[in-house]
Each structure stands twice: as structure tokens, then as C-alpha cells.
């Protein structure tokens, strides 16, 4: 068993990863650019992805994730090992990084203005994220928006976009040249593939952005674009529902969310065509936002 050790500098954090699972190393080299896989001697967190022990190494092999000495999840089948690492990263940051207010949301920026897309699973958030990231928007985050307390500033945490089930085929047809991870089959989310965002997002992964709008996307197959403006109370409660560490942050978390809602345009957008939604964002939201 040989463990390879590498550092992943994914601003604002640095991780040390050791793994004996070749599938993990292979996906990392494919998904993360060279600028991220570098040498650092100051990791914030220490991860390991390794084979399950005992006979499970041979019969239906499994992968296990460790955050330092702690194993937060049950082992998972080996083909999901890279996805396991990505979820492990989410888990670690969501449970440890209390100096940020963390919202379960995608964040994309254009013309220096960022839009927050908080949404529960199944709302088509990641499909929308992928589309925007490959159409001139800069990805700051696919799943976890890191907000600085008391501000509208989002700190980028650029990582691959997590695509599920039907959206995998869709994304592969949209962006045939993009870099996709191997498929993790039959996870609790169904089939999962991670998609590397374009170079522009990676190159600017230390540049924060100001949130000007909060859009709750809702994919509905039969419905053409319908946008509803939300009042502040509606937006607040919807956003608080998607905050990971809202209760931990206490007062600071609460005030940050309140301020964010007060200063942002808030919409719910039902859509069945991402291009149409993108047009609305570019023409009707961004031009009217002041930073």
C-alpha cells in the first residue's frame, strides 16, 4: 500500500491529502489545475482517502474518508472515492470554519457583481451554475458561499461543480471539451460527476466579490421563465434555511444575513431554460445593481 501525499491550495484554505486510492489522485490531476496542486507547508486541514480494511479491500472494495483522525462518514463504494473527498471537504469547512457565515449556495460574478443562488437539492442549481460558469460568469462557489460577517463580501472557494443524474448528460453535451471526473454511481444523490470550471474561475480564485442579488432558482420542466420579487422577510427566511452555520454564528450570522437581504435584490426564478434565465440576470438584474 503506497500513500501519495499532496497539498491542495484551494483559497482560502490549504489541505493536505494522503491517499492510496489511484482513482482519487487521477481525478484530482484531471479536475484541479496545476496551480492548485502545489507544495505548501502550512495546511489548515489534513485529509486521507483510503481503502476500506479487511476483506473489503478485495470484495466490493470501499473507500474511507478521514479528516485528520476523525471519520465522519461511513465507507462508500470505491468508484465514489473522489466524490467522497469533495463531500469530506464540504463537511470539514461547514463544521469548522465559523469565521465565515456559510450559506448553501452557488455564487457567480459578472462585471464585478456577484449573485447568490441558494437552493435545496433538485432545484437545478448546479446545472445553472455550470451554464453560467461557461458563459462568461466567474464561479466563486458551487455549493458553499463563504460570506465575511457583517459584509456582502463573498470569499471565493473555487472547486468543481457537482452535477447529478440527468444534468450530467446535459453538461457533457453542452461542454464536450470540459474536464469531468469519473462517475460516482448510486450515491445518496444518485449518479454524481464533478466538473472543473473554466480557467478564468481558477485564475481568480483569490478575488472576492460583492453580492448584489439573491436569486432562488427553481427548475420546472413545463414552465417558461417566471420571476417573482421577494420581500425582505421572505428572502431572509429562505436564506436562513440554507445557512449551514447560522445558529453557530449566533448574532454575527443573523446580522450578516439581515444586512445581505437588505442590500440585495431578491428574486425567485422558475425556469426551464438556463439561457433565458441568464438573459434576465444580465439584462434586468446586474445593470440595476450598485456596489
Amino acid at each position: 500500500m503506497t500513500f501519495s501525499q499532496q497539498f491542495l491550495s484551494i483559497p482560502p484554505f490549504c489541505f493536505e491529502l494522503s491517499t492510496d486510492v489511484p482513482l482519487v489522485s487521477k481525478n484530482i490531476r484531471n479536475i484541479y489545475p496545476q496551480s492548485v496542486i502545489n507544495s505548501s507547508d502550512c495546511p489548515d486541514y489534513f485529509f486521507a482517502v483510503q481503502y476500506g480494511n479487511g476483506l473489503r479491500r478485495i470484495i466490493r472494495p470501499q473507500a474511507r474518508f478521514f479528516s485528520d483522525q476523525h471519520e465522519p462518514f461511513k465507507p462508500i463504494s470505491l468508484d465514489c472515492s473522489f466524490a467522497l473527498l469533495e463531500w469530506g471537504m464540504n463537511w470539514c469547512i461547514a463544521t469548522q470554519e465559523m469565521r465565515f457565515v456559510i450559506v448553501h449556495a452557488a455564487v457567480l460574478e459578472k462585471d464585478g457583481k456577484a449573485i447568490l443562488f441558494p437552493a435545496p437539492p433538485g432545484s437545478g442549481k448546479s446545472t445553472l451554475t455550470a451554464w453560467l460558469a461557461f458563459h462568461g460568469w466567474r464561479l466563486l462557489s458551487d455549493e458553499m458561499a463563504l460570506l465575511l460577517p457583517g459584509s456582502q463580501t463573498v470569499v471565493p472557494f473555487v472547486r468543481p461543480i457537482c452535477l447529478k443524474n440527468n444534468s450530467i448528460t446535459l453538461a457533457k453535451s453542452w461542454f464536450p471539451d470540459a474536464r469531468f471526473s469519473t462517475i460516482a454511481r448510486n450515491t445518496h444523490k444518485g449518479d454524481v460527476v464533478h466538473l472543473s470550471p473554466p480557467a478564468h474561475s481558477w485564475e481568480n480564485n483569490r478575488v472576492p466579490a460583492q453580492v448584489v442579488a439573491i436569486v432562488f432558482p427553481k427548475y420546472q420542466q413545463e414552465q417558461p421563465l417566471t420571476v417573482t420579487q421577494l420581500n425582505q422577510a421572505q428572502a431572509f427566511s429562505a436564506l436562513a434555511e440554507n445557512a449551514f452555520n447560522f445558529s453557530l454564528g449566533g448574532q454575527a450570522g443573523f446580522e450578516t444575513i439581515v444586512k445581505l437581504v437588505e442590500k440585495s435584490q431578491c428574486y425567485e426564478a422558475c425556469y426551464n431554460d438556463v439561457a433565458e434565465l441568464e438573459e434576465f440576470l444580465t439584462q434586468d438584474v446586474l445593470p440595476y445593481a450598485n456596489i
Binding site: G52, W91, T95, G250
Partner: protein, 378 residues
């Protein structure tokens, strides 16, 4: 200087110059593993160190830990209020022990930045059935245990199986004594009930001397020490804040009465050896008859100096691993008479062999409900 020594120096408020970021990264790693980040943050501030003078990297992690610890303290106050309301009608005694007790104590330094995974309660044994029933009615249930473990708890232990709250996830350990009955070391619990105090908010906790002795017993009769440095600094902080003639007198008396004088000797020995805590000569004289012999002490030093230092498995060498192993055998030996220990070892050994062959999840009863417990995986 090894990382563990650096950490002790920093714990005393001396920040060595020229520490590299790589060293800081290791220090943070060890302290997080020892659950001591928030404690160090609080202590450095108490000692007048400007946290802002530390590298940004260190500040980040201290800040994170501080927020988590504060939140936990709030949570414990919430749970304690609820437990008091629920259980007071059913039990004459209701004490909050260890971590929860420290958090609830009026401004105890040991309670600042102290984190823990469960709330420990002490009730009188007669009221256990009622207490358990009332807790179940209010959402606290035992997790699935196999028959062997059930029997272990009910017959031999000093506590009932851990109870978890269905929605809040809070874990309660309900004790009726401080030490497993099977060990033959369980004290007359009334000796300890005589050393309680009530906090401003109405919670019952041990007085500092009994608090110290309970911490001591817990640490030195255990077969496994995960957060050795945290537990040792608990002892150090209790002495620093509460030492007085009365404290020492009560401590030595209670230790002798309850037959824990030997453990007290060890506690004082290692707070002195590792943290440099001064122990009054008069106390040492009183305890002299209970001090283990020279050979025994060499053996105990080998174990405890290693497991109570701020260590981390990644930095441990063969001697550290041997110390852990000796600690385990010693702890089991102290806790169980030989026939039962053999039976216990056989049963646990059988499970371990099966685990090695079949994988560590062989014993799990069902597929986990992944959606419930994991943030970010929904």
C-alpha cells in the same frame, strides 16, 4: 524543540520567536486533536497576549474554535435548564459533572473554551428508573447495543448506556457512581455528595476539591486517554484558580476517605512534571504514604508523561505507542477482576478479529441514513 514542548511553552503565554508557519500548522493540528484550541485562545488572552500579534493562520483557527466553544456553552446552558426542569421532581441528587459542570460553574477558568462531546450527570441510584423513563418521554433514548454491552452497562458499570436526544442530538451520560462498580474501586458516593455547591443559576456541581478529584479518578483509572493534554490542563487550571488551604485540605481528606489518594499523587505529579504546577510541600508530605514505589513510578512515568503531553498520533513514535498499549492493559486491569477481564478480552478480541477480516463496518446493523447527519451531502 518538539511540538509537544512548544505547545506547553505557548500554554504558559510565551510565544517563541521565529516559529515557522509549518510549525504553527503542526501546533494547530495537535491542539485541535486535543480539543484545546479554544482553551488556548482563552488562556492567551487571559495572560495578556495580543492574539492579533500571532500569524493570521493561527488567528483564523483560534477564532473558529472560540465560536464553536461559545456556541457549545450556550447549548449546555440550554440543555441543563431543561434537564433540571425535567429531572428535579424525580431525583434527590442531580449533579453536572466534568465538562458540563465546568461550563456551568460561575466563571471557572476550566470552563472557558472547554469543549466536550456529551453531558455527564450524576443522580442517586435509587432514582435511576424514574430518571431514565422521564428522559425517554422527553426524547432521550439509548442507542442500539448488543446484549453483551447491555449487560456490561447494567451489571458492572457506573452509568447507564448513553442516551441521545432524537432531534437535538445531545448525548447524555447518566451516572450513579464515579467509577465502574466491577472495579471494586467505586467509592461510597455519599462522600462525594457531601462536596457539592449550587451555582448562581441553580445548578448543582462539585466543589473545586471534589471536581479535581473526580477529574483525577477519571483520568488515572482510564484505559484510553484521547485528549490527555486537555484533561491535564483541566487539573492545572483547577489548581491555579482554586488553590487555598481549604482546597488542599478537602482534596487530601476526600482522596484518603474515598481510597483515591494514590491517583491524587499521580495527578499532582504530572501537573507538576508537565505543566510545572507547584504543589505545596505540606500536601506532598501528607500524601507521601500513598505514593507508588520507585519502580512503579518509573513505569507510570513512562506511560503518563507520554499520554498526557500534547501529542497527536501522527507524531507518536514506538515508545508513545507502547505507552498507549500499557495504559490500555493497566486501565482494564484496574477496572475488572481477572476472570471478567479475560471474558471481556475474549469477546472484544473476537469482534476485533472479525473486524480485521470483514472490515470495520461488519457489525453495523443497517445502512446509515446519510441525509440526516451530514452537512453538505444532502
Amino acid at each position: 524543540m518538539p511540538i509537544s514542548e512548544l505547545i506547553v511553552v505557548i500554554y504558559h503565554g510565551i510565544i517563541p520567536e521565529h516559529l515557522t508557519l509549518s510549525q504553527w500548522s503542526q501546533i494547530v493540528r495537535v491542539l485541535r486533536h486535543q480539543q484545546c484550541l479554544a482553551r488556548l485562545n482563552w488562556r492567551l488572552q487571559q495572560l495578556g497576549i495580543d492574539i492579533k500579534s500571532l500569524p493570521q493562520f493561527v488567528q483564523n483557527h483560534l477564532k473558529n474554535a472560540e465560536i464553536i466553544a461559545n456556541k457549545q456553552k450556550h447549548q449546555v446552558h440550554y440543555e441543563a435548564k431543561e434537564l433540571l426542569r425535567l429531572l428535579q421532581p424525580y431525583t434527590a441528587k442531580l449533579l453536572f459533572l466534568k465538562g458540563a459542570g465546568y461550563s456551568l460553574a460561575n466563571n471557572a477558568s476550566v470552563g472557558h473554551g472547554r469543549t466536550y462531546s456529551d453531558i455527564d450527570l450524576l443522580v442517586d441510584k435509587a432514582s435511576l428508573p424514574d430518571v431514565e423513563k422521564e428522559l425517554a418521554l422527553n426524547g432521550f433514548f439509548a442507542e442500539d447495543l448488543d446484549e453483551y454491552d447491555q449487560k456490561y452497562y447494567r451489571q458492572w458499570s457506573h452509568e447507564i448506556p448513553p442516551l441521545r436526544h432524537g432531534s437535538r442530538g445531545t448525548v447524555l451520560d447518566v451516572h450513579h457512581n464515579l467509577v465502574p462498580l466491577i472495579s471494586g474501586r467505586a467509592p461510597d458516593i455519599n462522600l462525594f455528595f457531601a462536596h457539592t455547591q449550587t451555582t448562581e443559576l441553580g445548578y448543582t456541581i462539585f466543589k473545586p476539591a471534589a471536581m479535581f478529584l473526580h477529574s483525577t479518578v477519571h483520568l488515572f483509572l482510564n484505559e484510553e486517554i484521547k485528549h490527555g493534554f486537555r484533561d491535564l490542563t483541566d487539573l492545572g487550571l483547577l489548581i491555579e484558580q482554586y488553590q487555598s488551604e481549604e482546597f488542599w485540605r478537602e482534596l487530601v481528606e476526600l482522596a484518603i476517605q474515598s481510597n483515591f489518594a494514590r491517583e491524587l499523587c499521580l495527578a499532582l505529579r504530572y501537573t507538576n512534571k508537565i505543566l510545572g504546577q507547584d504543589i505545596p510541600a505540606s500536601v506532598q508530605t501528607l500524601l507521601l504514604p500513598y505514593l507508588p514505589g520507585k519502580m512503579a513510578l518509573r513505569y507510570l512515568d513512562f506511560i503518563f508523561v507520554r499520554v498526557l503531553r500534547p501529542t497527536h498520533p501522527v507524531f507518536s513514535d514506538r515508545k508513545d505507542q507502547l505507552a498507549q498499549f500499557l495504559l490500555m492493559t493497566r486501565g482494564h486491569y484496574l477496572k475488572m477482576p481477572m476472570p471478567i477481564l479475560l471474558k471481556h478480552t475474549f469477546w472484544k478480541g473476537y469482534r476485533n478479529i472479525a473486524t480485521t477480516l470483514l472490515g470495520s463496518n461488519f457489525w453495523d446493523k443497517a445502512e446509515p441514513d446519510n441525509n440526516k447527519d451530514v452537512v453538505g451531502r444532502q
